[in-house]
Structure formats: C-alpha cells, structure tokens
C-alpha cells in the first residue's frame, strides 16, 4: 500500500507543478504592463513605474520570472501582496484556515446527510424518498448558492430579527459566535456538495443491492435494513468519499461568493478581492495554494479509499 500511495503522491506533485505553470502562463498572457495595472490607481511618474518593474523582476525573461516565483512560493510563501502591502505568508495564514474550516464543515455535514439518505433512497420500495432526493439534488445543482444566502439572511432578519455575527472568530476563541456565523454558509455549501454525492451513493447502493452476495445475505435471513446499510451501503462509502474529494475544489469555489456575503475573511474572499484589484501576482499565488490544497485533499481521499476498500488497492 505504501507503494501505491507513493505513486499517487508523485503524480500529485507533478500535477501541482504543471498547474503552477498553467496559472503563471494564464496570468502573464495579460496584454499590457503589470506594473501599470498595479500602480494605476495613484498618479505616478514613469521612473516609479520603471523602478517597480525592476523590483518585480518584469524585465527578466519569463522563465526566470516563473522560477523565481515558484521558488519564493515553495520556500515559505515569500513576497508581498502589492495591492495591500501585506506579506503573502501572513495573508494566506490568516485566510486559508478559515476557508478550510468552512469547507470541512460543509463536507462533514454533506457526508453525514448524503450517505444515509442516499442509501435509504436506493431501496426500490422507497419511491417517494427517491423522488425527494432527486429533487433536492437537482435544486442543489441548479439554484445559485448566493441567491439562497441572500434569501436566508432576509428570512432570518424578518422572521427572527436576527442576523449572523459580523466579526469572525475562530472556534477556539469564541465558539458560539463562530458557529452562529459559519453554520449558514456551511449548510449552503453542504447542500451543493450533497447534490454531487447523493446520486453516486444511490447508484452504487442500487448496484450493490442487485449483486449476488446481497441476494445471498437476504436469503440467509438478514433483515432488509441490515442488508441495505451494512452490506450494500458499505460499498457506496468509497465512491462517496472519492467523489467528495474530487468535489472538494467545488466546495472551495462555492465559498468564494458566500464569504463575501457573510463577511468571512477566507481565502475565497481574498482571491476575489485580489482579482478585482487586478493584483495578479497575488491571484497567481492564491490559486496555487488552493490547487495545492485541493490536490492534497484528493490524495487524502485516495489514501482513505486505499484503507477502506481493498478493491482500489490494485487499480492504477
């Protein structure tokens, strides 16, 4: 198993490297002067701009610039965000944890609901539940999360004269405020995430139910419930976790707009602000960090799968 894991780790590292290349290339494709974009909002002289170009190393060949950026990023996220003057390491440190917590809550809630629900709905007798699950899935995919968030805030205000806390606190600092703020975007993200999980869980469980060994289990006299959950449902676990891992990036992407609405100082909001401020080097680094995290999560999900489901051990 160590070998399989090592193989995947290597593949992930290569993927990350190429992803960094892609992100760098995409951003440098921008026509025009990067220094001008950065300085544009203050009247400045040509000399200042030239000095900035020197400082940013924009006069060096692209390969050198890429190498320098990659090196700076990998060795501790060195560098300063041009649009705010904050060191990138500090910026990422304070923002990343917040978004990861949010994504973690979302995925946990999602798995906790989607797995039992999906398994239950797979039973051919449960037509109504099946239809309901289909409906929830479809809505989760179709209705934009930010729209529901606005309605939610409005609803809470009009019905209960209550609004979520305005200052973000970490879970160890002030748990009740942390919870009261994060629960809402977590639920919304969980709903979107579950929309991807439910069909998979349901399909895998149905498939397992039609499997000969399940029939055998039934013939042995085990209760329907036991057959459903412990035998058939169990086979859906690994695919569910696999899909969850793959969709983790989607959870992070989904948090982009929600963080802005709820005032959560996460990396999603940081990225949006950097993009709107045209601070492209910062966008570059933040996207790289997010991709690294996403790949890491997918790797972790893979690892979990290796442990949970022996069948995957021998697939490449």
């Amino acid at each position: 198993m160590g070998r399989a894991f090592g193989h995947r780790l290597g593949a992930a590292a290569i993927q990350l490297f190429f992803a960094s290349l892609l992100v760098f290339a995409l951003i440098r494709v921008l026509p025009g002067d990067l220094a001008l974009s950065i300085l544009a909002d203050t009247p400045h002289t040509i000399e200042t701009r030239e000095a900035l170009r020197e400082e940013l190393g924009l006069n060096d060949p692209q390969v050198v610039q890429y190498a320098r950026w990659l090196w700076e990023t990998l060795t501790g996220l060195r560098g300063v965000a041009r649009s705010t003057g904050e060191p990138i390491r500090a910026l990422v440190a304070r923002q990343l944890g917040v978004t990861l917590l949010l994504a973690l809550y979302a995925v946990t809630i999602s798995l906790a609901f989607a797995i039992p629900l999906g398994i239950a709905a797979a039973h051919p007798k449960r037509r109504v539940l099946g239809a309901a699950v289909e409906g929830v899935t479809a809505l989760g995919l179709a209705v934009p999360g930010f729209w529901v968030a606005l309605l939610l805030i409005l609803g809470l205000l009009r019905l209960f004269a209550w609004s979520p806390p305005i200052i973000y606190f970490g879970p160890l600092e002030f748990f009740s405020d942390h919870f009261a703020l994060m629960i809402w975007p977590a639920i919304l993200l969980a709903w979107q995430h579950a929309a991807h999980l439910l069909p998979v869980v349901r399909a895998e469980t149905s498939r397992a139910l039609a499997n000969p060994f399940t029939v055998a289990a039934r013939a042995r006299g085990l209760s329907e419930r036991r057959v459903l959950y412990r035998h058939a449902g169990r086979l859906a676990l690994w695919p569910a976790i696999s899909v969850s891992g793959v969709q983790f990036g989607g959870a992070i992407a989904g948090s982009l707009v929600l963080e802005t609405i709820f005032g959560i100082p996460g990396i999603g909001r940081g990225l949006v602000n950097a993009a709107l401020a045209r601070d492209l080097p910062l966008v570059q680094t933040l996207v790289f960090v997010i991709v690294a995290i996403v790949l890491g999560v997918m790797l972790a999900a893979d690892l979990l799968g290796l442990m949970l489901d022996p069948r995957t051990r021998y697939t490449t």
Binding site: T48, T84, L157, P164, P265
Partner: protein, 426 residues
C-alpha cells in the same frame, strides 16, 4: 515654499493639485509661539480655504516622506509610511479584512481639559463587504452605525425600510456626495465640438430624474458648487438660474438645435464609466437616446479609471465626485487642461484663465459672487463645456443613541475623529 513635487535633478515632477490657486509664495518665516508667516506675490485671501479641501494629503513627517516623494512617489500619504498618531483612540486589535478595534487612549491631549475627551471606551470598525449584510446587521442591532462607500450609502428605498422598522431609534447622517455631470472632451474631434450639439444635450437631459435613478434618491439639482452644509458660501449655491423652462419646451428646443447642427439622425459618442458605479452612465445613455445619440459606455476598473479621467482619450466623462468649499478651488476641475490635468472638460479656453484671475483678485464679497455667476454662466451655458446634472447626498444610518457625531462639513471624504461621540442608552 513650492506647490508641486521637485526631483533631485532639479526638474519639476508635477504641479500640486491647486497650484494656481495656492499662488506664488515669496517667503516663509517661523515666528515665536508656533506661528508661521507666509508672504505671497499677489493677494491670496483664500489660501487657507484651499488648504482645507479634503482632497489634500499633507505630507508629514518630512524625514520619512521627503526622500520617497523626490524619488517619484508623488502621492505618498502619511499612512503609507506607517504613521500612527496620538489621537483620542489607539489601535487595540487589527484583524485584517474583518475588524479594526480602537480603544480609548489615556494619553490623549484633550483628556486633561474641560471635556475629558474621548467618551467612548471602544470602537469596533467591522469590515462588511456586502451592503445587504450591513443592513441586516444594523437592523438586528449588531452595529450602531453604517458604512461609507458607494454601494453602502443608503438609497431612498433602504432608508424607508430603516425608518419603518426602527422608527425613532435610527437617524441619518447626510453628507455632501458630489456632483453628477457630463463633461466633454474639447480636445477630441467629434460632433460635440459644435456648441449647438452641447446645448441640445444640456437642454434635453431630465435632471430631476437623475436623482432617484442614478443617485439613490437623495440629492438636488444644481449647476454646481456645494457643499450645502458649510456655513459660509450659501449664496454661492446657485439654484438653477438658467435652463429653467419646462422639460417639454427644453426638449423641443434641443431637437431644433440638433437639426440645425445637422445631427437630426444623431451620432455616436463614447463615455467613460467607473465600474463600481454604473448607474449614472446607464441613466445618461438612456437620456441621450432620445436625441438619437448612441452613448456607448466604456466601463473600466478603478486602475484604468484613474488613468483615463486625466487623459484626453475619452469623448466624454463624468469626472470625479469632488465638491469644493469655495469657488476659487474649482479651477483645478474647470480650468484649462494643460494646467489642470484633473479638469473635467478637456478644454484650452483662455477665457477661463481670465475669469479665475479676476475672481482671485476680487476685493469684495459681492464682487466675488458676481464674477462667479459670470464664470458659471460662461462655462455651463455660453460654452456648455460641462452639463451639471445633480448633486448627490450620501446617507449613513446611525442609531439615535450615538450622540455628538459631527457631520463632516466638506464631503464624505472627510474623516471624523469620534472624540466627541457618546452613547445615550437607557
């Protein structure tokens, strides 16, 4: 004393924003008891009023800023060098992107005096990017005051909800918001070079409609010059003394003028629009469509906007929202382009130079008013380089128990120090 930025090689980098108004200083002397005497080459009675314009960033301290300014950073501000003052409050906590917490500063100099300022123990400035989330937080009682910022200022509709829900426990701070105008680029070729076309546009626009549509419902129509809340120049605020015929008559005349000028079928004109606030641009586009003018909106982000509005690249624009406390301070936005890069209308009309010189040399208040009226008439009617539309009012909500808050007298760019604020809760 020099109003501008000098480089180490002796060349002048940039004239200061109000260089012409600030005049030529011959000498500066330091007098005892912390006084300064500045001697000017010519009469300059409004020097202090110009300095009071909120757009000025005064460079201090010299030892931290001079070197960088000479190196070319001509718009360096004290906060860029990390200056922290000894005001009524001290920074207690700073969580970037979410909270700025200030606590009472026991070393504040007014603490010893009669009032023992400041009264507040603590102020939390909370960062809330979404205006609706701010509404929710205010109305549910989590915050005591609203935010400043284009999207956060209350529109008339939001204000009504606040009033309906909170009644007497909310009050509204109304601050000068700045003028909404259409300014032509006279240095670019186009149909607007014809005075009749510019007049037609000025007559056609329904200025009253701009207030609810483009300015959030709070404002008034005026040719220019605010603000309304500083005591002295009330008589400068010129309620529309021209183009006061009913809208239908004005529009008939506008159509006639366009036909006379040969543009009955209209034409196409570009218009620079700031991305963070497109409503005024959309309003203008629809208005001008009535004259068959296709005003195509060139929506740009902040970086490009700051570069573009001082360039001569765009056919027309709205300029930056900046009122001036006194008429003498308006040359930087109404004067000739070559000496005032920030000018709204890019023109090189020497008549404006002459008018501003006369204004500066006026020896009586009546004289000042009369010359100003003449200047306004020249600029807005006779030449119509600029079409003033309406002035906006920025509304910020506060709970009624927040007392002692001073309304900034210039405009919403001005800070208040909260030193005199107290809470009157039962």
């Amino acid at each position: 004393m020099f109003f501008g930025a000098e480089a180490d090689d002796g060349s002048v980098r940039a004239p200061a924003y109000f260089a012409r108004e600030l005049g030529e200083a011959l000498s500066v002397e330091l007098l005892p008891f912390d006084r300064v005497r500045v001697t000017f080459a010519e009469r300059n009675p409004h020097f202090l009023d110009i300095l009071a314009n909120p757009r000025f960033t005064i460079s201090h301290p010299r030892h931290l800023m001079e070197e960088r300014i000479r190196a070319g950073e001509v718009s360096l501000t004290p906060s860029d060098v990390g200056l922290v003052g000894l005001g009524p409050f001290a920074l207690a906590r700073y969580r970037r992107g979410s909270l700025i917490r200030l606590e009472r500063n026991d070393e504040y100099w007014e603490r010893e005096g009669r009032n023992r300022l400041p009264y507040l123990d603590r102020i939390d400035y909370v960062v809330m990017p979404d205006p609706f989330a701010m509404d929710a937080a205010f109305r549910s009682g989590r915050i005591d005051g609203g935010a400043r910022g284009q999207a956060h200022y209350l529109s008339q509709e939001r204000r009504e909800i606040y009033e309906a829900e909170l009644g007497a426990s909310v009050r509204f701070l109304e601050m000068e918001g700045g003028n909404f105008r259409l300014a032509f680029n006279m240095l670019k070729d186009g149909p607007w070079q014809d005075l009749r076309v510019r007049r037609a546009i000025a007559l056609w626009i329904d200025k009253r409609a701009a207030i609810p549509a483009a300015l959030g419902g709070s404002g008034w129509t005026t040719p220019d010059l605010g603000p309304s809340n500083i005591p002295v120049p009330r008589f400068f605020v010129n309620w529309p003394r021209f183009d006061r015929e009913p809208l239908t008559e004005r529009r008939e005349r506008a159509l006639e003028l366009m036909a006379e000028a040969g543009y009955a079928d209209g034409f196409s004109m570009g218009h620079l629009v700031r991305g963070i606030n497109t409503a005024p641009g959309e309003f203008l586009k629809d208005q001008l469509a009535g004259l068959n003018i296709d005003l195509y909106l060139q929506i740009v982000d902040e970086g490009e906007w700051n570069r573009a509005r001082v360039s001569a690249d765009y056919d027309s624009q709205q300029g930056r929202l900046t009122p001036s406390p006194i008429p003498e301070g308006t040359e930087s936005v109404y004067g000739r382009y070559s000496s005032n890069p920030d000018a709204y209308a890019k023109h090189e009309d020497p008549q404006l130079d002459r008018l501003y010189d006369r204004l500066r040399l006026a020896t009586s208040q009546d004289g000042r008013i009369q010359i100003w009226r003449e200047l306004e008439r020249y600029l807005f009617v006779e030449q119509t380089y600029i079409v003033p539309i309406a002035e906006s009012i920025n509304v910020v909500p506060y709970r009624s128990w927040v007392r002692g808050l001073a309304v900034p007298s210039e405009d919403a760019h001005t800070f208040n120090d909260h030193a005199t604020v107290w809470l009157d809760r039962r």
